[in-house]
Amino acid sequence: MLKIKTPRTHRAQRALEKRAPKLVENGKKTLILHGTKTSNLLNSVLTQIYHLKRDSAVNYTKKNENIRPFESGGETSLEFFSLKTDCSLFVFGSHSKKRPNNLVLGRMYDHHVYDLVEVGVENFRPIESFEYDKKITPRIGSKPFFAFIGEGFESVEELKHLKEVLLDLFGGEVVENLNLGGIDRVFVCTATSSTTILFMHCALRLKRSGTSLPRMELVEVGPSMDLVVRRHSLPNDSLKKEAMKTASDQPKKKIKNVSSDIVQGKIGKIYIPDQQVGNMPLSNDIRGLKRERREAKKNKVNGEDQSKKRKMDPQ
């Protein structure tokens, strides 16, 4: 016996439909959590990443003992959290003697682990240690620029993977139209060696130049750290193929009040609201009153002369 369960409230229905798989997806949310042991440095790294991604991230504060992303059984908790919070990206921090200041950046497909990159954090400088003019601070949710420097991002497998993951993590929402006035920030990643990259977050200042193209100025603002790639796991080919599939055609948007007829061709309907004759505000420039005004002015002038004459009389 099967029973059909539907949500009882509209709010619940909307929440379910928000989480359903769609052709054009919502922005990816990030889950930030940590394992049994974290260092002070790692805690501040995690909170700063959360601040960078304020609206689209969920920050978990409890320690999770049984999460081991690289082991086959140790990711069930992660998948459960991803399902409950609807997050498809995660940042998992842990600290051990073998892997100090460890961050695992991971992605999910259908709430199962898709791929992972494990990096170690070195030379971390928090936001507070930078001095800059507070007016140019980048706003939360603005679409960032990315600058990747170094041949390592093309030649080394791990760095290529890390580049993709960083794009996903910090890229923000996928947008079609961009407001040129809202360009705020840039993430600069430099491959200093075949295993490490220098990750910096800078604010953008657009300065006047002679031409219509503004001159860009970078001011270092946010956290800066060295990421040392330790391990990574790529998805298997079939899963990758499935995840990269896109719907080739755009969904046809129905245009309302337009129909086509065989005889007349394209027909449109226009709906005009009822005219409220009684409530119309009268404007001062009504053409019909022009002659009246002219006459009124004429009379006024005559009246003034008369008054002047009157004044002179008592004198």
Binding site: M1, L2, K3, I4, T6, P7, L16, E17, R19, A20, P21, K22, E25, N66, R107, Y109, D110, Y114, N123, P144, F145, F146, A147, F148, I149, G150, E151, E154, L167, D168, G171, V175, E176, N177, L178, N179, L180, G181, G182, I183, V186, V188, T190, T192, S193, L198, M200, C202, L206, L213, M216, E217, L218, S224, P235, K240, A243, M244, K245, A247
Partner: protein
């Protein structure tokens, strides 16, 4: 610093310089940072040049630019939604060529002469509102046509629900269940009395399953490797204490203590703390003796000689010789 060709992905606002070589990584961090910032500025300038040369539309918030499709493709978050399989009615309509006609919300009701809604409260052609039902030749005298109508309506509704469930099951098979619907197994299946409904295993039961299987091993599952999150198996039964084989130096033997403890327990069952059995028995006997004596005296006092029972002398001479 290499060629000036950067790979620019405008859809993602990304620029990549593949040709940059660090001839020697500057040892001082500040120099490194400065160099990176410089290079970054060049790249960002390149992106901005490309961006600002796109055709922009004016808006009160600022110039808006339509970004091209990103060149670096990123994986999806969830699978593509699968198309819903057509329902039974849809298949039938397609086969017959029935087209869906748009219906108005308000319908003119001839009976009342007013515009009523098609569905809902106070609707047109409501089954319940019919005041008189004419009797047909086929009707039996005892039947209630209004009740019949109610029963028929109920049957129609049930049929529709069954069809809806079937359609949803088909959709579930195709993996295209609508996001707000869940199909849940509720009761026992009516068909097949032997089959038990698959019971939903509780969390505790699942935790114990591995432990139950582990007892088949030679050491009772004590040294099995555990999965992360698995708890130690529960010990069933009592814990026994075994004495050591070799005694150390101490007050007395542990064995002696153990046996003494057992003996005391046994004796305690027969001995009573409050009641001393022997004393109680003697007291009882003494009491009884006294009672008997009292009764005898009374008897002697009360009865006369005549009614004295013949005392049979036990002498041999008293016996009559026959």
């Amino acid at each position: 610093m290499g060629a000036e060709t950067y790979q620019i992905d405008l859809g993602n606002l990304m620029a990549f310089d593949p040709s940059h070589h660090f001839q020697s990584i500057p040892s001082a961090r500040e120099d490194l940072v400065k160099e990176c910032l410089q290079k970054g500025t060049e790249l960002v300038q390149a992106i901005a040049n490309a961006l600002f040369s796109l055709p922009s539309t004016e808006d009160p918030d600022g110039p808006i630019v339509h970004l091209p499709q990103p060149t670096t493709r990123l994986p999806r978050e969830k699978h593509l939604p699968k198309p819903k399989p057509p329902t039974k009615w849809e298949l039938f309509a397609k086969a017959k060529g029935i087209k869906n006609r748009k219906k108005d919300k308000r319908v003119f009701d001839e009976q009342t002469g007013a515009w009523k809604r098609r569905h809902g409260y106070d609707r047109v052609n409501d089954d319940k509102d019919v005041p008189i039902i004419e009797a047909k030749l086929t009707d039996e005298p005892g039947e209630d046509p209004f009740a019949q109508r109610k029963v028929e309506k109920k049957k129609r509704v049930e049929k529709q629900e069954k069809n809806r469930l079937q359609n949803l099951k088909q959709a579930m098979k195709a993996g295209a269940l609508p996001s707000h619907v869940q199909l849940a197994a509720t009761a026992l299946p009516i068909t097949g009395s032997q089959k038990e409904a698959p019971k939903k295993a509780s969390k505790e039961e699942l935790e114990n399953v591995a432990g139950m299987a582990a007892t088949a091993t030679a050491s009772g599952g004590k040294f099995d490797k555990k999965l992360p999150g698995e708890k130690a198996p529960k010990h069933a039964g009592k814990f026994r204490k075994f004495l050591p084989v070799v005694e150390g130096k101490g007050m007395g033997t542990q064995e002696k203590q153990q046996t003494e403890k057992i003996l005391n327990q046994l004796m305690a069952k027969s001995s009573h703390d409050i009641l001393d059995v022997n004393k109680a028995v003697t007291m009882f006997n003494v009491k009884k003796e006294r009672q008997r004596k009292k009764e005898k005296d009374r008897e002697v006092f009360n009865t006369s000689n005549k009614l004295k029972p013949k005392k049979k002398s036990l002498k041999k001479s008293s016996k009559k010789k026959n």
